[in-house]
């Protein structure tokens, strides 16, 4: 079918607007991170950096500080980066593991209250985090979990579990029951079937759940602001601290922001390979 010029123009305009809308801020962050500090206040604003520098990254990563006479932020940045990575990965692994088991139980086991329980868990998606923040804080204090990896990861898990559970349940429901029945007749038990038949076939679903959880945990701000004040402080909480009363360090903010963008992007690119569907082809009809 040949589309009219107007029609195509319309589509391309839409695509362009969307691209600028979503990629614009990212581009600005990346561009600013290699712009010398003096140029930040230059007017008019240039779309392309006029001069190129890696000074901000040097400061951030603590390389050759003597030359630029910068502040020592590397230690803070390193620990925040590490904290972000550790809590996000821990939350992802825990969340996917728990929701996979849970979703399988909700799909294939019959027990009283199954639908109600599932509904209740998923309904917690509708509860805004700030509504439960204070009671949660009290609970975490009494469990001595504030400012610990475990504590933060568990909060993330509770935040993303319902979504992941819901997603994985529909993934498991779509798997042909006859495969599991065949395995049952072949002598496999429930857990064996789960690990050797169901999980390998649910790869794309598990990957999607992992990506959602990782990205969600990576971008959390409010929760770590309260629950990760010091030793487990992640990037999201550290970066705004480069804004002080008298000085906004655009260089550090955009350099650390760039790194904070690149890591989840790498994770998504890496996991994307496992999102391929069509794994089931040829098993049933």
């Amino acid at each position: 079918m040949k589309q009219s010029l107007g029609h195509r123009l319309f589509i391309w305009t839409g695509v362009a607007v969307l691209l600028i809308w979503s990629l614009g801020p990212i581009y600005w962050t990346l561009a600013s991170s290699v712009t010398p500090a003096e140029d930040f206040s230059a007017r008019p604003i240039h779309f392309l950096p006029q001069r190129f520098t890696l000074d901000h990254f040097s400061r951030l990563l603590g390389i050759d500080l003597a030359r630029i006479g910068g502040v020592e932020v590397w230690a803070q940045f390193r620990s925040a980066l590490l904290n972000s990575i550790v809590t996000s990965i821990a939350a992802t692994v825990l969340c996917v593991a728990i929701s996979a088991l849970g979703a399988y139980a909700f799909t294939r086991l019959t027990f009283p209250g199954r639908r109600f329980l599932f509904g209740a868990v998923v309904a917690t998606l509708a509860i805004p985090a700030y509504a439960v923040l204070i009671p949660l804080y009290q609970i975490m204090i009494s469990l001595r979990l504030v400012d610990t990896y475990l504590g933060v990861a568990l909060i993330y898990v509770s935040a993303y579990l319902p979504l992941s559970l819901w997603l994985l349940r529909s993934v498991f429901e779509a798997l042909p029951l006859s495969l599991e029945e065949a395995a049952q007749l072949d002598g496999a038990g429930r857990l064996y079937i789960f690990f050797k038949i169901v999980l390998p076939l649910a790869g794309p679903g598990l990957t999607a759940a992992a990506i959602l959880t990782f990205l969600g945990a990576w971008g959390q701000y409010l929760v770590p602001l309260i629950f990760s004040p010091n030793v487990t402080k992640p990037l999201t909480v550290l970066i705004p601290e480069f804004v002080t009363k008298n000085f906004i360090d655009y260089g550090l903010i955009t350099a650390s922001g760039s790194i904070a963008i690149i890591i989840p992007a790498l994770v998504v690119i890496f996991l994307n390979r496992y999102l391929v569907s069509g794994l089931l082809a040829g098993s049933v009809k």
Binding site: A281, V284, K285
Partner: protein, 353 residues
Amino acid sequence: MASVSVTNVRKSYGHVEVLHGVGIEIEDGEFVILVGPSGCGKSTLLRMIAGLEDISGGDIAIGGKVVNEVAPKHRDIAMVFQSYALYPHMTVEANMGFSLRLAKAPKNEIQQRVRDAARILGLENLLDRYPRNLSGGQRQRVAMGRAIVRQPQVFLFDEPLSNLDAKLRVQMRSEIKQLHQRLRTTTVYVTHDQVEAMTMADRIVVMRDGYVEQIGSPLDLYDRPDNLFVASFIGSPGMNLIRGHISTDGPVEFIAADGGRMPLPGKVDLERGAEVVYGLRPEHVTIGEGGVDAEVILIEPTGAETQIVCRIGAENVVVALRDRIAVSAGDTLSLIPDLGKLHLFDGITGRRL
């Protein structure tokens, strides 16, 4: 190998009963086919034998031992699913060896048995492939291979050929039958296709709406259907069934609802005026002098035989002739029913008279 006995088995889903007391005795080594229209409960019964469905009432015994409460994996049965249910992430070899690996059989034994099964089924060159790289017929063979590798007490098949094209279906039909003749494993096979049932089974169980209508060898069912349902279900083209009654006076004759008259065998002992159904297979009619007049409506040559649809009074009757005769639509034929092979059914209960 083992016998399977199904005694007064019932199955309900919620308040709906779908099997109403089914009883079947299957002997050791027998090939039994459950046949019936879609939705009559064949798969449900098969799955109950497999242990995939709970038994709401009655008993199922395998090898003389009641297995109602025995888990599927301890029943020593293998099932071939309609959808094949091959594990998509495993090679053909891994699919076939799955149960043996689970049972922790020695590696070389697994390999040996998988190779043997593959040889029987002509799968030797496909062992490294994944199910997605196989054709429909090959997948079907792998599914069977997975079953025979187990060397189970009983094979269960649920419409295994329904996803294949017509030609392959005929071929697989004879392969499955040969396989059974070779292995002699008790087999319960479900199909809705009466031709499949007739050609493969030692005995056929005809089911309808959760009841067993008749159990017998293929030729039993063909020669002596117990009731109208079996009479109409078995045989292709189907038996001609004409409603009417026995003449109330004059010579003993069958009088169709529209008034047409058909001859009856001399020895019949039927009440005058009784409502009956006159059943005549298309192949049990010849053409000759002094028969019943019929107008030719349609001629369908199949090569081996010629099927002629004709009309006696207001009734359509199909006649299958071995001889090729020169007739055309609108001609009148004189049909002579083979009275020795006539079937009469009670017009009210549908039972054979």
